[in-house]
Subunit: 306 residues, 2 copies
């Protein structure tokens, strides 16, 4: 069985996009329950200035908590070198820095143009490596931008190479805006892999804005992608890209991957129960996904044993 890594990003990407605040205790319950269901990696928060995203102010504390869970890979988002220092200090296993392929989005989201971002990646990478921390770069708005529209594939390839040269140990393509279609995913993954090496591009971060999220996962699997970000209940999105809400739903992703015979290590039935924590902690917040209502197929256990 091929191993596929499902990385839960709800505590970061989910929570940063909603108004309701989740308490530190509820976040801990959520993280502990997902880890217990077998989720191997969780992005627990973001080292942005708390004044910008108060919801992420407890990230360092969550990192320390999550580091106490055996077998869990604890990652966090960092917007810049300063965030990278805080992440190292807090003790993350890995960090991911978003690098927007749309320069308009980059300036609006992180207030830096492309050359400034590449310099920042270089500095953050040195800090991460110095602290023995895995350093990934997420190529945001790689499939299009709600501000610019189309983002040229040549530009994505060029910037992917620049990020790798600047020190990224791993790259991901992020459909920040829910623009990706499966043909584009196959084409762009293939082009970027050809440019930076097959092992450098591992991850897809997909949104379900237009319902194409899992279709894009299938395209990514065909091209050898081995890590998919997802958010429990489809919570979340990017607060700076209008209409971009909705990561792919962890529950539906895990059903699909397990049913296809991939090894995610995740117990779907245990995962479905974690949803109740979100319901209690975020009353009234919309949760997405089809599997929670329909449940696994009658022959689900036969499929996953295959």
């Amino acid at each position: 069985m091929t191993r596929i890594l499902v990385s839960e990003v709800g505590p970061r990407d989910g929570l940063q996009s909603i108004k309701a605040m989740m308490s530190l205790e509820d976040k801990k319950r959520w993280i502990a329950a997902e880890a217990a269901a077998g989720v191997p990696e969780i992005e627990v928060g973001s080292f942005v200035p708390p004044s910008l995203l108060p919801q992420m102010a407890d990230t360092a504390e969550l990192v320390r908590f999550a580091r106490g869970i055996e077998g869990l890979n604890v990652v966090a988002l960092v917007p810049n070198a300063k965030g990278a220092s805080r992440a190292v200090e807090a003790g993350v296993h890995g960090m991911s820095l978003p690098f927007s392929m749309s320069e308009t989005h980059s300036k609006k989201n992180l207030r830096k143009d492309h050359p400034e971002m590449i310099a920042e990646i270089g500095e953050a990478s040195r800090i991460a490596r110095g602290g023995g921390v895995h350093f990934a770069v997420g190529l945001a708005t790689a499939f299009g931008c709600t501000l610019e529209g189309a983002v040229s594939e040549d530009q994505v390839v060029r910037l992917a190479e620049a990020a790798a040269s600047a020190g990224a140990q791993e790259l991901g393509l992020s459909d920040t805006t829910g623009y990706a279609d499966p043909a584009q995913v196959r084409r762009l993954v293939r082009r970027v892999k050809a440019a930076v090496g097959d092992d450098m591009l591992t991850t897809l971060h997909l949104h379900n804005t237009r319902g194409l999220g899992l279709a894009n996962v299938v395209a990514g699997l065909e091209e050898g992608i081995t890590t998919f970000d997802a958010s429990l209940g489809g919570l979340g999105g990017c607060p700076f890209a209008p209409g971009a809400s909705g990561n792919i739903v962890t529950e539906d992703l895990v059903l699909m991957l397990n049913s296809m015979g991939f090894d995610t290590g995740i117990d779907l039935r245990a995962l479905l129960k974690v949803r109740q924590i979100l319901r209690e902690a975020l009353p009234g917040e919309p949760l997405y996904g089809f599997t929670p209502d329909a449940g696994p197929m009658l022959d689900y256990d036969e499929r996953t044993a295959a």
Copy 2:
């Protein structure tokens, strides 16, 4: 550009599964508006006994109406030879007979075991051919059954061969219960095509019960499937298979196919407006789909011109 046929089944599969009745006039408005948006084929109803599905009592009248729309391929479902006669009489271009791969489901849905169904296919096929009408068989519950669980792939292959020998001019695989996963779609399409010939298996009828509908479309496209059934607003399902509700959503399917560069002939923006007819005709009925809320991507026109 590769031509992909999107077949709208909402007036049949959608309406047969809901309690609310749609008037003949509203059905005509719906069919006319979808055809005007470029939808090339519509399953306008089912020639089942009206006592069983009163919602389908006006199918013959709808066929006559739809035949008046230039360029539209008018198809209907027929449960048996008697329905085939009525369909020929009404003047359909094509008919489709559902043949359930799960014998339990077959007995419950059409009150016939497999040998009886094959005999019925033979008779219906002779009636259709005699009337110059295209005759397709839909292999229902091909991916699993809410009553039996797993359906053996060997059995699906054997029954597909039997249906072809009995006179089917075309076959489809139907995920009546929303059980299919993309790996299974690829495997089963490949096996059935190998058994009956590449041109005989053309169609996938998919449900979105567990959110995997469009992911399964991608798998089907990879294996050379050229026709996909879908329902506007995701209306519908199978009333005899509990928990099976929800065809894939025409709006999201068309966005995906057009964006991928396939030629569907459908104007997405015109299609999105048709949804309003359902809202007016079926107040309170849940409608699905993401594209109606999000709208096309900013660069949608560039993608589809590619």
